[in-house]
């Protein structure tokens, strides 16, 4: 029971982290129609910049400065790269961001080496918050979850209650109309792109210390983030939230299950047959955990092609 509770808590917090990255991605897509392949690279960049700065500034300041740096990189990418290829169409924009993600990963390997770096939670933050049964629960996880929730709250409030939020939403909804009314839509695009990148950077700066910081983290998370936005429906913030939590919790639960399909078939008396067949039937669910998000995505595509919260396309 306590095991289950821990798994659900871990999953929720991982889901919140996924949401921090996918929120920016889905907002940018909703607004510009660009699937930003380099978005997960911003997450990785956040972790590495925070790692590089934490030696000089200390952990807390590094976590604050790093998203600003990454946000600035995002602004540069939008202003000087994406805007140039906009006239060639969406496929070109996607390919450009793909190339940029490639370059970012290679640059990281160039400067920091092709191996995990020693970026850790500082000692005064690595204590346990509370005990569930026999396990200590690290307070840092709670901090990550709290930051993600706070960011969600701030963004939601900004978008729904302020004047800037109204302009941004109108630029997302009807860019041409907003432009005709005299709003500087390219500036809004640049701003949202930068904020989205900064959010991903913040997620990276926080999560990199807890999980590992290595040159593959962008790809590993990036694929999951794409799954999240497909399941949630591209362009939908609520969808991203629900899908992130769903994937976080499901994978976290799956890691702890030792059963296999053979055990399931055992209920109807086919267990021995399945064990004899072997192969995928005897694989434990825990070793399949990495594949579950993709299976979920295929399922969603079959049942509801536009995603849980997506419009019908």
């Amino acid at each position: 029971m306590e095991h289950l509770l821990v798994a659900i808590l871990n999953g929720t917090i991982y889901g919140l982290l996924l949401f921090m990255v996918s929120a920016g991605l889905t907002l940018i897509f909703g607004m510009m129609g660009v699937l930003n392949f380099a978005h997960a690279s911003f997450y990785m960049l956040g972790a590495y910049v925070a790692y590089a700065l934490s030696g000089v500034l200390g952990f807390a300041l590094a976590v604050i400065v790093s998203p600003l740096v990454v946000g600035a990189v995002g602004v540069v990418v939008e202003r000087y790269f994406l805007r140039r290829v906009h006239r060639f169409g969406h496929a070109h924009e996607l390919l450009l961001t793909f190339g940029l993600s490639f370059i970012i990963a290679e640059l990281i390997k160039l400067f920091f080496g092709n191996f995990p770096v020693d970026y850790r939670v500082p000692a005064d933050l690595s204590f346990s918050a509370f005990r569930i049964g026999g396990t200590d629960y690290p307070v840092y996880r709670l901090i990550m979850g709290a930051v993600a929730l706070a960011m969600f709250g701030v963004i939601y409030a900004l978008l729904t209650t302020t004047r800037v939020g109204i302009v941004v939403r109108s630029a997302i909804f009807r860019p041409r109309m907003a432009e005709a009314l005299g709003h500087n839509v390219p500036l809004v695009f640049m701003g949202v792109f930068g904020v989205g990148a900064a959010l991903a950077g913040l997620a990276g700066a926080l999560a990199g210390a807890f999980y590992t910081t290595n040159p593959n983290m962008a790809l590993e998370l990036g694929v999951l983030v794409f799954v999240v936005v497909v399941i949630g429906g591209l362009g939908s913030l609520e969808g991203a939230m629900v899908a992130s939590l769903l994937i976080g919790i499901v994978t976290s639960l799956a890691v702890g299950i030792d059963a296999s399909f053979a055990d399931l078939l055992g209920i109807i008396g086919l267990g021995d047959w399945a064990r004899a067949v072997g192969g995928p039937l005897t694989l434990q669910v825990s070793s399949l955990a990495a594949t579950i998000p993709f299976a979920l995505m295929l399922l969603v595509l079959l049942v509801r092609p536009s995603g849980l919260f997506g419009d019908k396309s």
Partner: protein
């Protein structure tokens, strides 16, 4: 038209004659180039002609490779599938997996399609290490090329000719495909799906068909790879391969039939040539890709073909001088950039860090010269070269562009 045919005949003749003059190492590299060319062409059938951008094509390449290894072990070079016919197995399994994956992926278009292909490939990549019987776990599986039809397939020259035969055959088939009615419909898939649907075509089925054909030829490429290295490892299913086929194809230009093949062959040749000299090849590849995307959206071969078509090689004295200036400036910028990357790579490498004991920090050797980490020359020279190169490039391209007051 006649020059085109003549050029093609010359190219094929050169490919046939190549092993006679090349060293064994280069023959091996040529095999890799041929395989890369076929893979890129298969990929571009999907992304260039049908407009469906796949980020997971390594899956079908890998399935072809593994199917071939299993077939090699099962038939042992005798029976239905002797060594020269093994690519059929790769193609067949590629086709089957392409039908299955394509059925899912082509349900959606645009970015959704791209993400589904990516997810499917990652699904396989995540699953593969756990299926030891099929994918051989971490170690992979290996097989032997058996003699057949009077060939031993012991030397890589014989493997080269086998690869060449299959690659040329597949390229011809892919070209013929573009001439068929289905090939024309494939272009329709890219240009206007709605219209195809109104005309009464089953767009989903057509998409699956194109996807499957593309996966089939990718499978053949994978099979040739398996035949060449006599082994397969689940690393082949990695994102790296999918990424490089996207980069190479677009660097060549996906809208021209031979663009992706030439792009892939060139890039894998450069990859082979500089792999001993630099560890940053992938970075250069990425930078080249982004530059092509931004300045030559049709790709290198595509741009060349366009210029030939429009007859934009008119040789006036002024145009020629501006062109020469352009090339020289490009050279400056490239040398500057490469210098900087290589210096950075050396200064940030773990080897260098372990060499630091106290001050002053030791120099690194590059291009037969020693460079100190904190001297102005070390960073000023490459930066200066780059700045001069970029400035001249700007000037030369303005001279070359009639729309901006240059000479035409």
């Amino acid at each position: 038209m006649r020059t085109k045919v003549l050029l093609l005949v010359l190219a094929v003749a050169a490919l046939v004659a190549a092993p006679a003059v090349l060293s064994p190492g280069l023959v091996n590299a040529s095999i890799q180039m041929l395989i890369a060319a076929l893979f890129a062409s298969a990929f571009s059938l999907l992304c260039g002609q049908a407009g469906m951008l796949s980020f997971g094509h390594s899956a079908y390449f890998g399935i072809g490779a593994f199917a071939t290894i299993h077939a090699m072990n099962a038939f042992n070079g005798v029976g239905l599938l002797p060594t020269p016919l093994l690519p059929l197995m790769g193609g067949f399994m590629g086709l089957l997996s392409g039908i299955a994956a394509g059925w899912f992926a082509t349900k959606r278009t645009g970015v959704y399609f791209s993400m589904i292909t990516l997810a499917l490939a990652e699904l396989l990549h995540a699953l593969a290490p756990h299926l030891k019987e099929v994918f051989g776990g971490e170690a992979g599986i290996s097989a032997m090329r058996m003699p057949a039809w009077g060939f031993t397939f012991g030397s890589n020259v014989e493997v080269y000719y086998l690869t060449l035969f299959w690659v040329l055959l597949c390229l011809v088939l892919l070209y013929l495909y573009t001439l068929t009615p289905v090939g024309r419909l494939t272009l329709g898939l890219r240009e206007n799906t709605h219209r195809l649907r109104f005309l009464g075509y089953n767009v989903h089925r057509l998409g699956v068909l194109v996807f499957a054909v593309s996966a089939m030829f990718s499978g053949v490429a994978g099979a040739l790879q398996a035949l060449n290295i006599e082994a397969a490892n689940y690393v082949v299913l990695d994102m790296q391969l999918s990424a490089s086929v996207v980069l190479n194809s677009y660097i060549g230009g996906v809208k021209v039939f031979l663009g992706p093949a030439i792009g892939a062959a060139l890039m894998s040749f450069f990859g082979y040539a500089v792999s001993d000299l630099t560890r940053s090849w992938l970075l250069y590849q990425g930078v080249l890709f982004v530059l092509v995307m931004m300045f030559l959206p049709d790709g290198l071969v595509g741009e060349f073909a366009k210029r030939v078509r429009e007859g934009r090689f008119g040789l006036g004295w002024e145009r020629l001088s501006a062109g020469v200036l352009f090339v020289v400036a490009l050279g400056f910028a490239i040398v500057g950039f490469v210098c900087m990357v290589e210096l950075a790579q050396r200064f940030f490498s773990t080897d260098y860090r372990s060499m630091i004991v106290g001050t002053p920090w030791p120099p690194v050797t590059l291009f037969g010269r020693e460079w100190l980490p904190f001297s102005a020359v070390t960073w000023g020279l490459p930066l200066g070269l780059m700045a001069v190169g970029l400035g001249l490039l700007n000037f030369a391209s303005r001279r070359l562009d009639p729309e901006r007051g240059g000479v035409s």
